[in-house]
């Protein structure tokens, strides 16, 4: 396990020193994170890295995962789609399964959560847990990782009833925050620069990965890394590739992703992508296992351009990962991508497959610009979206929740 001091080489000593200072008043505090999957997706990835580092900084930090059945995950996937704006009708039976699953998990988790000083509940899946802890000792925070800027109102109204009693909520962007009767903190997520997904790789490893997937090093490569989810618009990426290929005949496309255990729609979307690709030998659809972090790292590094053509996106950690590797990103003009992709500086924001194709052609014809964007991109991530900043913001919030609601707290 890496210690927090390992990060000083990347962030600078000043950042680590500051983190230790903020952690001082929180020493020994029991913090529990709760989410619905240990494997797959951005939340699980963040928690895998954040929990040990919070422990290293002197807090007693734990991570609990909700156990649910197929009905539960079908319901929560429906929530996810509805929060991102899709009009989803959820039958009473699914809502019942959702509430029942939370009631059962509350009993299993009672010893861990009842006396915790801080409980951080991630996303809607475990949101009703709070109602089962009327004698809770600590502060409970709901962390929303989803683009909730325009939720489908009937579903949001249902979920809201589980959220109002939380002491605070956390949102990735101000645009996402929905009115709730408690302070709504804004904390973007982060990547771990020392994880297998983001650590520097030897050229040999990149070359081997390229050979394994039979990618031609002499021809340009564009890549989208993401779960096979309609909001990530993988079919739109294939369309963009086709349009761009008319002008760059050697263009190759990689669409790589895995599934998350809490996402029951992945297979259907994957089939749609296969159909759209129509056996084009230059479209490489890679269904990767959940632990293929170094493979993803290598794919991002060997790409000329990384795409994230989402139509809705909570934050888009794959964008952050690509920027960290100095790759320009062509991203959907939505959610957290807007915070990361700065037009003409770190990449381009687009709204259509046509737009993505246009920017792909433009960048492939301006190689010097791509290099310049890449170095700006890496610096931007270093300054703003690394795990150390994320932990510092959580600590700050914990201090503020313990110290009342003054605009300024002097420790």
């Amino acid at each position: 396990m890496l210690s927090i001091d390992s990060y000083a080489a990347i962030t600078g000593n000043d950042v680590i020193e500051k983190l230790r200072q903020i952690a001082k008043p929180l020493q020994g505090m029991k913090v529990v994170h709760v989410n619905s999957t240990r494997i797959g997706g951005g939340v699980a990835e963040i928690l895998h890295k954040m929990v040990p580092l919070m422990n290293d900084l002197g807090l007693d930090t734990h991570w609990e995962v909700l156990q649910g059945n197929a009905e539960f995950y079908q319901c929560t996937k429906g929530f996810h789609n509805a929060i991102q704006g899709n009009p989803v009708h959820l039958p009473e039976s699914l809502l019942k399964a959702y509430e029942q699953t939370n009631a059962e998990n509350a009993e299993m988790l009672r010893p861990a959560l009842e006396d915790a000083d801080i409980v951080i509940i991630h996303d809607p899946q475990p949101a009703p847990l709070l109602k089962h802890f009327p004698d809770r000792k600590g502060k409970w925070i709901w962390r929303c990782h989803i683009d909730a800027s325009r939720p489908y109102r009937p579903v949001w109204k249902y979920l809201r009833s589980f959220l109002t009693d939380y002491d605070a909520s956390i949102w990735s962007l101000s645009d996402f925050a929905q009115p709730l009767p408690h302070p709504q903190y804004l904390i973007p997520p982060s990547i771990d620069p020392l994880s297998d997904k983001n650590v520097d790789l030897e050229m040999k490893e990149i070359r081997e990965t390229r050979e394994r997937f039979e990618l031609d090093p002499e021809r340009p490569l564009i890549t989208q890394i993401s779960r096979f989810d309609r909001f990530k618009d993988p079919v739109g990426v294939v369309q963009a590739y086709r349009l761009a290929k008319r002008f760059t005949h050697g263009l190759q496309l990689v669409l790589a992703g895995g599934g998350a255990t809490d996402d029951p729609e992945g297979d259907a979307v994957l089939n749609e992508v296969y159909e759209a690709a129509a056996s084009d030998p230059d479209v490489h659809i890679l269904l990767l296992p959940a632990d293929a972090h170094r493979t993803i790292n290598a794919l991002q590094r060997m790409s000329d351009i990384v795409l994230q053509k989402s139509t809705k996106e909570g934050f888009g950690l794959t964008v952050t990962e690509a920027l960290w590797k100095g790759r320009p990103v062509i991203g959907g003009n939505t959610g957290g991508i807007r915070l990361q992709v700065i037009n003409h500086h770190t990449g381009f924001l687009v709204s259509t497959p046509e737009g993505a194709a246009l920017r792909t052609r433009y960048l492939l014809n301006h190689r010097d610009l791509m290099e310049d964007m890449g170095s700006k991109a890496r610096q931007y991530v270093r300054d703003n979206f690394l795990l150390t900043r994320h932990i510092a913001e959580y600590f700050n919030l914990m201090v503020l929740l313990s110290d009342g609601h003054a605009d300024r707290v002097e420790l």
Partner: protein, 228 residues
């Protein structure tokens, strides 16, 4: 009145800022004015200063979020340029600063036939902030040590002592100038050079570099980097 700081070490503090959504949004210039009339003072603070500690790209083009939004979302260059010349240091309180912004917007509203507006996803979101301030173990006793210490402090510590201080102190100056001013000896040329550092149009890292340059230009290098 000059307070003596002779014999009092300079203790470096640091700060960490949390941003909080207020739930208020504006889609046009009139809504911006209406919200400004009643939004918390902490929000005015955030949009002039606090945002410097939040994710932002490269060099800020404007020194406050209101001007930037008017330029990039409302595409009204006139009000953007007028708002951009507001120097928040010249106002005795956040309320006075708020009133100045409101006056400028009202003037612009009276000039325009149509109210400038923007699309839904480019609305102005009013954010307020809470700051946690804490002491660091770093202290210096003599002015010369500033040259060695400044490159080592965090960017948020730079923010606290050089930007936030202007709101905290009676004379609206930074903490370094105030401390130097109270020491025995003549530090007026250093203080004058510090006054020439414009903190609004550079990143905090660049600001740290500029301050380091000022101090290293005046003080010979010291081997000590502050007591820790």
């Amino acid at each position: 009145m000059t307070h003596t700081t002779q014999g009092i070490p300079f203790t470096f503090k640091d700060c960490s800022l949390s941003a909080i959504a207020t739930g208020r949004t504006a889609q046009n210039l009139r809504e911006l004015r209406d919200h400004l009339q009643s939004v918390e003072e902490g929000s005015v603070y955030y949009h002039f200063w606090g945002g410097r500690l939040r994710p932002q790209f490269d060099d800020p083009e404007f020194n406050n979020d209101f001007a930037a939004w008017c330029k990039h979302s409302l595409r009204d260059d006139v009000i953007a340029e007028r708002l951009s010349v507001i120097d928040p240091m010249h106002f005795p309180s956040l309320d006075a600063l708020r009133n100045e912004v409101i006056d400028m917007i009202e003037e612009r509203l009276s000039e325009r036939e149509l109210i400038p507006w923007t699309v839904n996803q480019d609305q102005f979101s009013f954010i307020r902030s809470q700051i946690v301030v804490f002491e660091t173990p770093r202290q210096i006793s003599v002015a010369e040590e500033l040259a060695a210490v400044i490159p080592q402090i965090s960017t948020s510590s730079v923010y606290y002592h050089f930007i936030d201080a202007r709101r905290r102190t009676d004379d609206g100056r930074d903490d370094f100038s105030n401390w130097l001013n109270g020491l025995e000896g003549d530090f007026s040329s250093v203080i004058a050079d510090l006054a020439d550092v414009d903190p609004y149009f550079v990143t905090l890292s660049d600001l740290r570099n500029q301050l380091a340059k000022v101090f290293s230009g005046h003080f010979s290098d010291t081997s000590s980097a502050g007591r820790v």
